[in-house]
């Protein structure tokens, strides 16, 4: 290798930053109308290259999720793994709790921790997510050629449903949009403040307006 090129390679090797190491956490909540589910994911991407202390370090990871109902019922799952810091990690578990006619005031808390044999604890977190099962009755617009349906709130008890502005109905059974869908939405927000974000959970056809969770 010519000297200038060799020096360039050396310079780039020294200057180029190591790829950042991170642990990623993810919480996913869904419902089928009978149960509330929460899935927790932890992923660790090993650094490339893993040099110095990294090559001798051993990591342990643990994570899980606990769902707490408005009356204090709980359901949880957890998992753990360990290996060299040079290896990746991927953990996932899902907890479920029956709804039992409790709709408002669930909390789904992801807990996770990681330790390193070289430096001790590198992460301990508790991330709570406030969840509510917000039911909204919507009257879908008849759009025979579409499967993503516009809808209007059709509530018997309130003019301001919690998920009123976000109730686009998706037909996933291969059918097209048709009127009078009674749809369940799961609403979530962080820390008891901020806007609710609503996700479609379950739909069934009924005739006429119905109950909506108010804002």
């Amino acid at each position: 290798m010519a000297w200038p090129l060799r020096w360039l390679v050396v310079a780039l090797t020294v200057v180029a930053p190591a790829l950042p190491q991170s642990i990623y956490l993810y919480r996913n909540s869904t419902s089928d109308g009978t149960y509330l589910y929460s899935t927790a994911v932890l992923q660790y991407g090993a650094p490339l290259p893993c040099m110095g202390m990294c090559s001798a370090a051993y990591h342990n990871y643990a994570q899980g999720v606990t769902i707490t109902s408005p009356t204090g019922r709980t359901a949880s799952c957890s998992g753990s793994t360990g290996g060299p810091a040079a290896s990746n990690a991927n953990l996932q578990c899902e907890a479920s709790i029956p709804i039992n006619d409790e709709f408002d005031g669930y909390t789904s808390t992801q807990n996770a921790n990681a330790t390193c044999s070289q430096v001790g604890t590198i992460m301990t977190v508790l991330i709570p997510l406030q969840l509510s099962l917000a039911f909204t009755t919507v009257e879908t617009v008849n759009e025979p050629m579409r499967s993503v349906c516009q809808s209007n709130a059709a509530c018997t008890n309130t003019l301001t449903p919690r998920c009123g502005a976000q109730t686009t109905v998706i037909e996933t059974d291969g059918g097209n949009c048709h009127p009078f869908h009674y749809c369940g939405f799961i609403a979530a927000r962080y820390g008891g403040a901020g806007p609710w974000t609503c996700t479609q959970a379950l739909c069934s056809s009924i005739a006429g307006p119905g109950y909506c969770t108010p804002q």
């Binding site: 190591a18 790829l19 950042p20 190491q21 991170s22 990623y24 956490l25 993810y26 919480r27 996913n28 909540s29 869904t30 419902s31 089928d32 589910y37 899935t39 994911v41 992923q43 660790y44 991407g45 090993a46 650094p47 490339l48 290259p49 893993c50 040099m51 110095g52 202390m53 990294c54 090559s55 001798a56 370090a57 793994t81 290996g83 060299p84 810091a85 040079a86 290896s87 990746n88 990690a89 996932q92 390193c116 070289q118 430096v119 590198i122 992460m123 301990t124 977190v125 508790l126 991330i127 997510l129 499967s147 998706i170 996933t172 291969g174 979530a188 962080y190 820390g191 996700t199 959970a201």
Partner: protein, 180 residues
């Protein structure tokens, strides 16, 4: 006399304040722990651009893996037919709004990704070269972009980006230089 009384009251006040602080710190510590992420963390609800798309995609796939179900199979065993989602996968895919063909392609990509991830996460030899998780996910994402319908891929990407609000990135100390 007045001075002495005042001094005694101060000492009692101090004891009371100390006790009050102890009670407060004990009662508030769980709340403080819940709201504190390690320095340098990125909360996707606040700073979604700090979560790369490819990392969000692999987290989404990680949640989509159904640990309790049998491997997804093609109906009637045909390899050309789309895979069928389990009940758990159906719930998680409902908000994405994919048609059955795109859903099947996503489940195929999930199977391949999960196999690669398992291999990349099971290495116990520190001297073996690590496999970049983002590269595995990027490969799956590129494959889906080519095979899914344009509308379906756009819906998937939009959903994954929206899910960043439920994602958190926590830095790990850099150990490559021999010290932290």
């Amino acid at each position: 006399m007045i001075k002495e009384t005042s001094h005694i009251m101060d000492a009692e006040d101090l004891r009371s304040i100390r006790a009050l602080l102890l009670v407060l710190s004990l009662s508030l510590s769980p709340l403080l722990a819940q709201n504190t992420l390690p320095p340098g963390s990125i909360d996707g609800a606040v700073n979604p651009e700090g979560i790369p798309d490819v990392a969000a995609f692999r987290l989404f796939l990680g949640a989509l893996v159904d640990q309790s179900a049998a491997p997804a199979v093609s109906p009637e065993g045909g390899s050309s037919l789309p895979l069928q989602p389990s009940a758990s996968q159906r719930r998680k895919l409902l908000p994405v709004g994919l048609n059955s063909t795109d859903t099947g392609l996503l489940l195929q990509a999930l199977q391949a990704w999960h196999g690669d991830m398992s291999a990349a996460s099971s290495a116990t030899d520190a001297s073996a070269p690590a496999i970049d998780l983002d590269s595995i996910a990027q490969r799956a994402l590129n494959g889906l972009k080519q095979r899914m319908s344009a509308a379906g891929f756009a819906q998937l990407l939009a959903h994954i980006r929206a899910e960043k609000k439920h994602m958190t990135r926590i830095p790990v100390p850099d150990m490559s230089g021999g010290r932290h």
